[in-house]
Homo-oligomer: 224 residues x 2
Amino acid sequence: MTQANFASVYEDAFPFWNEIPDTDKDYICQNSSVFTYPMGTNVHDGDECSGVILVRCGSLRVYMLSENGKDITLYRLHEGDICMLSASCVLDAITFDVFIDADKDSECYSISGPAFAAVSKRNPCIKIFALEIAVSRFSDVMWVMQQILFMSMDKRLAIFLLDESARTNSDLILLTHEQIARYIGSAREVVSRMLKYFSNEGIVEVSRKGIKILNRKHLRQLTS
Amino acid sequence: MTQANFASVYEDAFPFWNEIPDTDKDYICQNSSVFTYPMGTNVHDGDECSGVILVRCGSLRVYMLSENGKDITLYRLHEGDICMLSASCVLDAITFDVFIDADKDSECYSISGPAFAAVSKRNPCIKIFALEIAVSRFSDVMWVMQQILFMSMDKRLAIFLLDESARTNSDLILLTHEQIARYIGSAREVVSRMLKYFSNEGIVEVSRKGIKILNRKHLRQLTS
């Protein structure tokens, strides 16, 4: 991977790119690396500083982990998304740890935390960019929290199935009950029970292949 | 309230104060107001833009509210604290609503949202300050979420009692079970049941006056 390649990608990914000096552009590119993560591997592990991650392809799952191994998905990152929470060394105000796994085979660019911190110290526009990304993730996390705390399980599952179907542009959701449980912050048994109920109602068809949406209208009614 | 009074307070409260032009200082002061909130009154209500709030005295409770009235305390603001979540019109990245009530009789200064947005557009140091406050609240909220999702009730209650005792510098917690339940994201019945258990164990004494910590060492053991 040459510096020129990084630069051409960063020009699209970072709105601040053309506002900073060439020396800082070079410095960022010199401190960039390419990583490939096979599906299921860990990308970032709690309190280390893995740097600022740009997803080139694939999908990453950002989650919280309790001492006894229970986890809650906070959000997922897709192509073109940037993760600042993996670089808590860049933003002093972030005092919590998250974990990140590759949801699919993924390729990421990573800018070293100290290097990114150094250029953002010299360029307020970078600092603002980094903070704005963190704050917009805050909004995502608040939404997850609202869902988990306040929303009934059938509603949560219905919303998830519709979102996932829209995202993949397919009626067939190719996820296990275990995976869905993790995404919506529930237990596998609860998801299986609810899917069985949906299935009895003719809303979905559950098979080994996945979950097929049969009655989208009914599913939508559950979300309101 | 004169502009000079605002300015002298803002000089201490805002680290950016001496980095911005006098015209912007004047503009902020001209768009500032003083509000007094008797205990229990609502300070900020969801999606309105109440401006940037600086707590002068008293205490504000920031919480999420569900459609059916269930609420979860996110954090509390004390003297000298600044609230940006009440001014979602200032930060585009904030796309969720919170509610704020006065926990005690409180006095606050409020800077109009559009005025604050205008000066922060001209001064990156203000924008960075505002975003950093939002991100550090994000850290608080993540902690609350971790507590609610992962921690057992006895541990949560023990931590709350110790924190509250440290904050008020007293062994006596002058809060109702209802209030405690709200702070720790639980139900009154659950808190009462757990306090009864603590009381049976000789850890606390529960009376009409409040909750008195009798065995601090035992309480601390519960938190680990």
